[in-house]
């Protein structure tokens, strides 16, 4: 490797580490060995080599890809000018209403065809023509995916794409989904190209520091965008299944009851009466009832949905699950947890029924707790565990700590999950510490923390 490449290799690794991938020295050396064994003329081969040696977890792959594109860009500047760029140059003007309309037509056709290569080229062209933010002197221009997206507004093309897809014989819903996905893919390409160009001017470190999102399992529930939420929701069912499998395995491993004398002696026959292996009777499993009390007000709605969905998916791990949602009034949602139902449907039902949880519309923990004690106190018993989900922001109303104390006293265990960062607790109307003194409060901001918590309590 020549010295420039070593530099780039090392700063690429540094960026990966900064983004949360644990890349050890051993893996670093593996990557170098892999690059030496591979031909360099194909960028995808280099990417595959780096990925095989450095990424050991699929959820980290998007982060890796984004950083790889920044450090090892697909092309420099406008690249080798293709035919389409010449056309634009011929007409003289690259950015006016006419050019915009022509570009949108071209984009609509490309999206309807779904040709990845053409879409890549168009994304690059779109940034070059409509995403430039010049005016700060030569060499200091900058690029904005946001400006480009605002000007071209590809989302207005969705209907045209849907029409084209339905023309190919697709059904309405499906065409809409497909169009949405292509649009999402194209948006990602545009953003990637803007990053590439900025990296070219300001250096990759700058982009790596400001523009790379954390991977989906480390993304805050409250900071998630629409498309992220969709992806998180897809993640939650496999997550529950992983958790359940692991829990069963761990229970089995621990399940070593008293010595089974008969089996041990029988097994010792083959070793001349020496009991080399001992056999044990299995232990009886014990399961708890779970009562979930869930704040569904706007600020924590995302978090509540994911946690409820995870609880739903882990239903089998508990003897019985009862779930209640509240804003200022308590409403039972247990009946939506139908066994075998589709998680997406469950989520829609839950969202629809949250309307019942509010009478006045402002979060009021105190009143919700009182109502819960009045109407559903029978839910809690010595076998049940109480799980409260919410940010403990109660609009400065009466907290009714005594009620919470009574409820927690009735249950076998009680926990409180708070989706806010610990540093925001007790700011403004948050009563985190005061509630936390009654019921142990845990910070739970992303899927990883949620997974850890569920694993710990079961």
């Amino acid at each position: 490797m020549t010295s420039g490449l070593v530099e780039r290799h090392i700063s690429f690794l540094e960026a990966l580490r900064a983004a949360g991938l644990s890349v050890s020295l051993a893996e670093d050396l593996d990557a170098v060995a892999a690059l030496q064994a591979l031909p360099w003329d194909d960028r995808s081969v280099v990417r595959a080599g780096y990925a095989a040696t450095l990424v050991k977890k699929q959820t980290q792959r998007p982060t890796f890809d984004a950083l790889f594109d920044v450090y090892f860009p697909r092309m420099v500047g406008d690249g080798v000018a293709g035919g389409r760029d010449d056309d634009a140059a011929d007409s003289g003007v690259r950015d006016n209403a006419e050019a915009l309309a022509a570009f949108r037509d071209e984009l609509a056709d490309a999206l309807a065809d779904g040709d990845q290569q053409v879409m890549l080229e168009l994304a690059a062209e779109m940034i070059a023509r409509f995403g430039a933010m010049p005016g700060r002197g030569p060499g200091l221009s900058s690029w904005s995916a946001y400006t480009a997206m605002q000007r071209v507004a590809p989302s207005e093309l969705v209907d045209r794409i849907v029409q084209a897809l339905m023309g190919e014989g697709r059904l309405d819903d499906e065409a809409r989904r497909e169009a949405g996905r292509r649009m999402g893919g194209f948006t990602a390409m545009v953003e990637a190209d803007a990053r590439r160009r900025i990296a070219e001017e300001k250096g990759p470190e700058h982009v790596a520091n400001v523009a790379i999102k954390p991977s989906i399992d480390r993304l805050d529930f409250t900071a998630a965008r629409r498309s992220d939420l969709e992806q998180m929701r897809r993640e939650i069912y496999p997550l529950a299944r992983r958790l359940a499998t692991r829990l069963t395995q761990e229970h089995h491993a621990k399940r070593r009851g008293p010595l089974d004398f008969r089996r041990t002696v029988r097994a010792s026959m083959s070793t001349g009466g020496v009991p080399l292996t001992t056999h044990h009777k299995p232990k009886r499993p014990h399961r708890t009832e779970l009562v979930v009390l869930c704040d569904v007000s706007g600020s924590v709605a995302n978090f509540a949905q994911f946690t409820l969905l995870l609880v739903y998916a882990l239903r089998d791990q508990f003897e019985k699950v009862r779930a209640f949602t509240f804003i200022d009034h308590v409403h039972e949602v247990t009946e939506h947890f139908v066994p075998g139902a589709d998680p997406a449907d469950v989520l829609t039902d839950l969202a629809a029924s949250t309307a019942h949880a509010a009478l006045w519309g402002r979060t009021n923990y105190g009143r919700a707790l009182v109502k819960f004690e009045e109407n559903h106190a029978d839910a809690l018993g010595p076998k049940s565990s109480l799980l409260i989900l919410g940010d403990a922001r109660s609009n400065y109303s009466d907290l009714h700590l005594d009620v919470l104390k009574r409820l927690a006293g009735q249950a076998r265990h009680a926990w409180w999950l708070n989706p806010e960062h610990r540093r925001h607790w007790d700011t403004g109307d948050s009563a985190a510490t005061r509630y936390g003194e009654v019921v142990p409060m845990v910070e739970c901001r992303n899927l990883t923390q949620l997974q850890e918590f569920v694993h710990d309590i079961l």
């Binding site: 060995a33 064994a37 050991k56 977890k57 699929q58 499906e174 491993a253």
Partner: protein, 292 residues
């Protein structure tokens, strides 16, 4: 510069040779398989069930004329089943037969801890073989965490320490493939020693090639429609998305039933081959508007 490797000479070589035995690898898979051979590092393959993780190991063994040694992991797998075990019964017989003679105990002791009484299990077998070997450690996520510790020595240095015999090192490094469905996160230590490959469902074009290569009797037109339907099903967030194995099964079913046209009725009638959950079938019927 690319170094000569006894397994594959380049990523392209890996792709073409794997294709010869019917394993159609995408460029990433081919590159990673080549790297595993060239760097002599174990390869950890993760991905959903039925995308061809185990098949990859089998295909590598087939094209390189290597023997496939397979360790199927399961909960409760221990050293005795994975590495080696002393043949107690034979040892007892040996001790009994030496009781009449004048042989010293120390001589007997030396006698019973020799190769003759050693039962080698897959890991040790793979390391001791002198011919090319592909070692497949299947579903490694099913084991207990302790077994991973056992694997560490094998995977990093290709050696095994037997207290009575000393350290056995590999004469010839095997091509190691570990597969996992990611039901459990493997330890950092194991991952650090491995190359990583995430296998996912193939794109439509590749899947059609796979299906037609497995079921040559299937008409091209039906194959295209079948793959299209399968990919639509995978988008539905089902409990168990159809795998490649299920597309191939479906293709076989269609050939067996002599269905020439994969219309909505045919799909609805044979959906059981592809979807194995009642709720998944209901959802598919609803979303694809079958029997509408």
């Amino acid at each position: 510069m690319p170094q000569p490797s006894s397994w594959f000479s380049s990523p392209d070589d890996a792709a073409t040779r794997l294709a010869e035995v019917g394993y159609l690898a995408d460029p990433t898979t081919a590159t990673t398989a080549y790297l595993a051979g060239a760097l002599e590092k174990p390869l950890l393959v993760e991905g959903p069930a039925g995308v061809g993780k185990t098949e990859l190991a089998k295909a590598v063994a087939k094209v390189t004329n290597a023997e496939l040694v397979r360790l199927q992991c399961y909960e409760g797998l221990d050293e005795a089943r994975a590495l080696y075990e002393w043949n107690y019964k034979k040892q007892l017989l040996r001790i009994q037969s030496s009781q009449g003679s004048d042989q010293e105990w120390s001589a007997t002791h030396d006698d019973i801890f020799t190769d003759e009484f050693l039962l080698t299990r897959p890991l040790l077998t793979a390391i001791r073989r002198e011919e090319p070997t592909v070692l497949l450690i299947d579903e490694v996520d099913k084991t207990d965490v302790e077994v991973e510790g056992l694997l560490l020595e094998v995977l990093s240095d290709f050696q095994v320490t037997i207290p009575e015999l000393g350290t056995v090192s590999a004469v010839r490094r095997p091509f190691v493939v570990l597969t996992s469905n990611a039901t459990r996160e493997l330890s950092e230590a194991v991952k650090r020693r491995c190359l990583y490959l995430h296998l996912d469902y193939p794109d439509a074009e590749r899947e059609r090639e796979i299906v037609t290569s497995q079921v040559p009797d299937l008409e091209e037109r039906v194959a295209v429609r079948l793959v299209e339907t399968i990919s639509r099903l995978r988008e539905l967030e089902l409990k168990k998305a159809p795998s490649i194995a299920e597309s191939v099964d479906w293709a076989r079913t269609l050939v067996a039933l002599e269905i020439r046209e994969l219309d909505e009725k045919a799909i609805a009638d044979t959906l059981g081959v592809v979807l194995k959950h009642a709720s998944d079938q209901t959802k598919a019927v609803k979303e694809l508007r079958l029997r509408a």
